[in-house]
Amino acid sequence: MRNRLKELRAERGWSQQDLAERLEVSRQSVNAIETGKYDPSLPLAFRIAEVFAMRIEEIFLKG
């Protein structure tokens, strides 16, 4: 699944570590999600959406 994590993070000037701390996960997790190697669970996807104050479908894209 594609996602806009890297783009949204860059807009806010956050490093992967910054985002990881906000999500309370490891930096490796953020990297794996960003690079599309790992799709987060629904609860984590909701946390990501909350951190960016957006809807899940605005962050995660089909295909």
Partner: protein, 138 residues
């Protein structure tokens, strides 16, 4: 400190003494049990000790999976366990068939199944590295 780091720290705190206990119990069995010894209650009691350490090891790994709240890191650990289990079962099945039907095949003592599984964890870490570029390894 992040919760996932605490989980790994706790795991190491459990893993190290259990590893020492396993090594010590195997060394004790090697030193005390003579070749061709009968399966007396005393010998069986000594043989049970490494088994208890193995149970402790599996418990420590299970606790790691329970306490690790980072789902991605947890998945990496689960993948390692699965690769280790698959590798061990596959290799022992292959070896077992050869043992059954090929007289020249050396017998593999069942004792080596657990050390083989531990080697499988390293294989699992390599798989994780290749698939995810993930270096973390408990």
């Amino acid at each position: 400190m992040a919760a996932y780091n605490l989980a790994f720290r706790r795991y190491i705190r459990r893993f190290v003494p259990l590893t020492i206990a396993y090594g010590a119990s195997v060394a004790l069995a090697t030193a005390v049990i003579p070749d061709g010894a009968p399966a007396s209650p005393g010998i069986i009691a000594i043989a049970v000790l490494p088994g208890l350490a193995v149970v402790g090891w599996l418990w420590a790994m299970a606790r790691l999976l329970v306490e690790l709240d980072d789902e991605y890191l947890r998945m990496l650990e689960v993948r390692k366990f699965l690769v280790a289990t698959g590798t061990t079962l596959a290799l022992t099945s292959i070896w077992g068939i050869l043992e059954l039907f090929t007289p020249a095949m050396p017998k593999l003592p069942v004792f080596f199944v657990f050390p083989l599984w531990c080697l499988g964890l390293a294989v699992g870490a390599v798989f994780n590295r290749l698939r995810f570029g993930a270096a973390r390894c408990a």
